[in-house]
């Protein structure tokens, strides 16, 4: 076979990497290139340098080191039995590519993952080498996210954490059954063991930083993971409870959901259909409810329907409110923050504004309208100085009033 050009390799390996959802470049230690030799800065807020027509932001150069893989996970485009074109970068090539893109302000940094070649340790060594070239040879101070391999030696993962801002390990599927069926070479115990090991190292490094000013940072942007939605038969209750367990046990910054989408040359085991994007969106909303709105995982589960899945036509917060109407209406002028956060249509910003504004005036419905996105949506759940929803909160067709209208298609 003819030697592949850099462009061909980039096409293959970027295409192979796009199923990883994460592109966050925020929340890491602040650094800049003043006084250094290279380029790069991270100032807290992530920057999305471009958006692809799939609506996803492009913040990092997201590539694989190689898409050769000795594993045979059915959902994965790079599995051993797949017929995709294969390619392999050297660590130096990736480092050069990253710097060339970074200098032109295309990206915030690098998100490096890899198929497993030879052995887990060999692959992990190559990835760490790439991060080392960037950090040590080029004094690169941008963002680096390394996907680590759970089977790799803990010492290698430790080195990865010293170079990277964030490290992550994918749990892939929400249930053990799904994992054994679809990723026969992966082991849940090993994945969770690696997550726990990383958590311990993050905590230790934080503690060392408190005692010694020059102690090295270990993955200052924490660790994250990803779950595939729609490849197995796990329902939303399973997924939400798995996610909350992961947040609780392993101190994760984020759990990403990736709707299983058709891949070229797919395994015969998996149904290929349109990716469940709305379901993925509802799961992210439920994730927000747990992280920012004070909902317990059990309460999110209460919002699911009979099949254990969240409704697709309305958001989970509204679904919960419609089920527990006894908790409403709440008085905007008196209710506690926690109660206001449960009102469908009030976000954390709006609640903050209401709390600040009501120290100065008793809020009328008009005032609330100025502070929120849509008054029609919040009205049935609120009491204001000049507003009382009376029967509205208890109407049987409230759901129909609030759900986005289904549009009748025209004959064509």
């Amino acid at each position: 076979m003819a030697q592949q050009t850099l462009k061909q390799k980039l096409e293959i390996l970027a295409d192979a990497a796009k199923y990883d959802a994460s592109c966050a470049s925020s929340g890491t230690a602040k650094k800049n290139s003043l006084g250094g030799k290279g380029v790069g800065s991270t100032e807290g807020m992530g920057i999305c340098h471009a958006y692809a027509p799939d609506g996803r932001c492009i913040s990092l150069l997201k590539v694989l080191l190689t898409n050769h893989c000795i594993f045979d996970c059915h959902y994965c485009i790079n599995r051993k039995s797949s017929n995709v074109r294969r390619a392999r970068f050297t660590p130096q090539e990736i480092a050069d590519l990253t710097l060339n893109f970074y200098r032109r302000n295309y990206i915030e940094g690098l998100f490096l993952s890899s198929g497993i070649i030879k052995s887990s340790n060999h692959t992990m060594e190559q990835m760490v080498e790439c991060a080392r070239i960037l950090r040590e040879d080029h004094d690169f101070r941008g963002y680096i996210h390394l996907k680590t391999i759970p089977e790799a030696d803990p010492e290698l993962i430790h080195q990865a954490g010293l170079f990277a801002d964030r490290i992550s390990i994918n749990v892939e599927l929400p249930t053990t059954k799904g994992l054994t069926r679809l990723a026969p070479d992966k082991d849940e115990g090993q994945i969770e063991g690696a997550l726990a090991g990383t958590k311990a190292q993050i905590i230790q490094a934080k503690d060392e930083r408190k005692r010694f000013r020059h102690a090295p940072r270990f993955a200052p942007a924490g660790q994250s993971t990803q779950m595939i939605v729609g490849a197995d038969d796990a329902n939303d209750t399973d997924i939400v409870s798995k996610a909350s367990r992961l947040y609780g046990n392993f101190g994760l910054r984020r759990v990403y959901y990736s709707a299983f989408s058709p891949i070229p040359d797919a395994s015969a085991v998996l149904p290929l259909k349109r990716p469940p994007l709305m379901r993925e969106h509802r799961l992210y909303q439920s994730d927000w409810l747990m992280r920012f709105y004070g909902y317990a995982p059990g309460e999110v589960a209460q919002a699911t329907g009979a099949d254990g899945n969240l409704p697709l036509d309305i958001d989970p917060k509204l679904a919960w409110a419609l089920k527990f109407r006894g908790a409403f209406p709440v008085d905007v002028n008196r209710a506690a923050k926690e109660q206001l956060l449960r009102v469908p249509g009030l976000g954390t910003t709006a609640v903050g504004r209401i709390l600040a504004a009501r120290r100065h005036r008793t809020l009328r419905l008009d005032d609330v309208a100025r502070l929120t996105q849509s008054i029609a949506k919040v009205r049935p759940f609120l009491v204001a100085l000049d507003w009382r929803p009376t029967n509205l909160t208890d109407r049987a067709d409230l759901r129909a009033l609030l759900a986005p209208r289904q549009e009748q298609l025209e004959l064509f």
């Binding site: 462009k7 980039l10 340098h49 471009a50 692809a52 932001c57 026969p184 058709p262 891949i263 290929l272």
Partner: protein, 518 residues
């Protein structure tokens, strides 16, 4: 406040002031003048603010204004002290106070291109003197407006951080001093944000020589000093950069056509920015091709939606029509398994060979005959078993007149697995014997190593057990001692299977004996 009262007294007579700002983003200048005006008690309606190039507001046209002449402000108004710091100036002027929140918002809002912004900020500063906590009332229209201005400036700055695209300047003037390349970018901000964001780019690209050219002024950094220059035009910026080709191919490859969401992209990357983004020229084609790419991928994997045939006859009819993989298109016939329905043992081979394809029956070639001998020796009745293959068509390459066997690819085994599963469900064997790695993959769905898997049963989902051993054609390829050794192991494996089958049959008979006959 005393100054407020005196201003009110002389309201009718008081002059109108126009302050001309030296630059549209000079917040420090505005702050100094606003402080002085407030100390002199000049109410908001008597001040207009003019930025360079603009005519100020309507009052400035009336000719009765004191252009730029401030009232007798206290001479030593604290220039540098923050507004909320205690004022130690010896004169009688009261200190001007504002909340931190106001200063943060005002600093941003002052960069907006709205000509009313300085008047609005002055009005708010005026109100803050009588009500220091006024900023907390988020429902107030003035505060809402200031927040809007500040927000759109922040957004514009953020988009500048994101969408500035440097191009390497090649050629004359670039390499006069040393080897360091120079990078230049063209950007069109909505507001007066260029100078305010110089620090961001300096911190990020501290060791790089770069220029950002905009219609509102340019900034240049040479690794040590930041310089400013006047407005530039688009043609001043360099055109093209070889790395852009790589970037564009990255952009196209990282897009997933199955997740097309144009609205989400447009809300974050509006079309007005596209003309300065090299990758944006790909967008129309990517969108246009997305649906067919997705449909193609879905169609390729559509079969799973079909209903699985339940009887052997339906499977036989189905496989002869099946064209789900390339092997089926070779002009060969599909070879169905054969044997007793309800057999206790199911024997799975790899795929039909030359003889099997001609005859249309499984395991009748040389390997089949060898298998027959060994089965007999292990006292397994082939006629009581069900014999089939993991792949139903013969895969070969033509060499002269001979058809040379080719191993099926994993993907082809997985595709045919659908039929094998249907056969297994229709027969319901208690023991499955897989001959070779392809057969094992056909049953398990994953590749196992024969040497590790042989010799012990592997439990299957439906309660039956799988035994794995080598394919008899493997023995045909060996000679001498190696063949004898492997033949002995093969015989051992079959003996174990035989024992398992008879144990299973006995157990089933016992179970049937306890239950009354149907």
């Amino acid at each position: 406040m005393a100054s407020t009262a005196s201003a009110a007294l002389s309201a009718a007579l008081a002059p109108h002031y126009t302050v001309c700002l030296p630059a549209p983003d000079d917040f420090a200048f505005w702050r100094e003048r606003a402080r002085a005006l407030i100390q002199c008690g000049v109410p908001p309606e008597r001040v207009s603010w003019a930025e360079p190039g603009a005519t100020g507001d309507l009052f400035a046209m009336q000719g009765e204004s004191d252009e730029g002449n401030l009232p007798d402000a206290p001479d030593d108004a604290p220039d540098d002290a923050p507004d909320d710091a205690p004022d130690d100036a010896p004169d009688a002027a009261a200190p001007v106070r504002a909340s931190k929140r106001f200063i943060t918002l005002a600093r941003n809002a002052a960069l907006h291109s709205d000509p009313q912004r300085f008047g609005l900020l002055y009005r708010m500063l005026w109100r803050l003197q009588s009500n220091p906590r006024a900023m907390e009332d988020k429902a107030d229209p003035d505060i809402r407006r200031i927040e809007e201005l500040s927000k759109s400036v922040r957004r514009d700055s953020h988009k500048m951080h994101a969408f500035v695209r440097f191009r390497e300047v090649i050629g004359e003037g670039a390499s006069e001093s040393d080897e360091r390349p120079h990078y230049a970018a063209w950007f069109e901000p909505d507001h007066h944000i260029v100078r305010a964001n110089a620090g961001f780019f300096m911190r990020r690209f501290a060791n790089m020589d770069w220029s950002i050219l905009t219609p509102r002024g340019c900034i240049h950094w040479d690794g040590a000093v930041m310089r400013e220059s006047g407005p530039a035009e688009r043609s001043d910026a360099p055109q093209g950069d070889p790395v852009e080709e790589l970037w564009k191919s990255y952009y196209a490859s990282t897009f997933n056509p199955a997740r097309l969401k144009v609205g989400a992209m447009l809300s974050e990357m509006p079309k007005k920015y596209w003309k300065n983004l090299p990758e944006a020229e790909l967008i129309p084609d990517l969108i246009a091709g997305a649906q067919s790419r997705e449909a193609g991928m879905v169609a390729a994997g559509e079969r799973e939606e079909r209903e699985r045939p339940a009887t052997l006859a339906a499977i036989a009819a189905g496989i002869s029509r099946c064209r789900d993989c390339a092997i089926a298109d070779c002009g060969t016939r599909a070879v169905m398994g054969e044997g007793a329905p309800g057999a206790a043992l199911m024997i799975v081979g790899e795929q039909p060979g030359d003889h099997e394809d001609i005859e249309g029956r499984p395991f009748i070639g040389p390997a089949g005959q060898l298998l027959g001998e060994y089965l007999q020796r292990a006292r397994i009745d082939r006629r009581a078993a069900y014999v089939t293959n993991a792949v139903k068509h013969f895969k070969f390459v033509q060499k002269g007149k001979r058809r040379i066997h080719q191993s099926p690819a994993a993907k082809e085994i997985d595709t045919c697995r659908w039929w094998l599963e249907a056969e297994r469900a229709a027969i319901g064997p208690r023991v499955v014997l897989a001959l070779g790695a392809s057969a094992a993959r056909g049953i398990l769905g994953k590749t196992v190593s024969i040497s590790q898997a042989r010799g012990a049963p592997i439990p299957l989902d439906d309660g039956s057990q799988l035994w794995v051993t080598v394919h008899p054609s493997y023995l045909l390829r060996l000679d001498g001692a190696a063949r004898e050794e492997q033949a002995a192991r093969f015989a051992d494996d079959l003996a174990a299977v035989s024992a398992a089958v008879s144990a299973g049959v006995k157990a089933a008979a016992r179970a049937a004996g306890m239950e009354p006959a149907e």
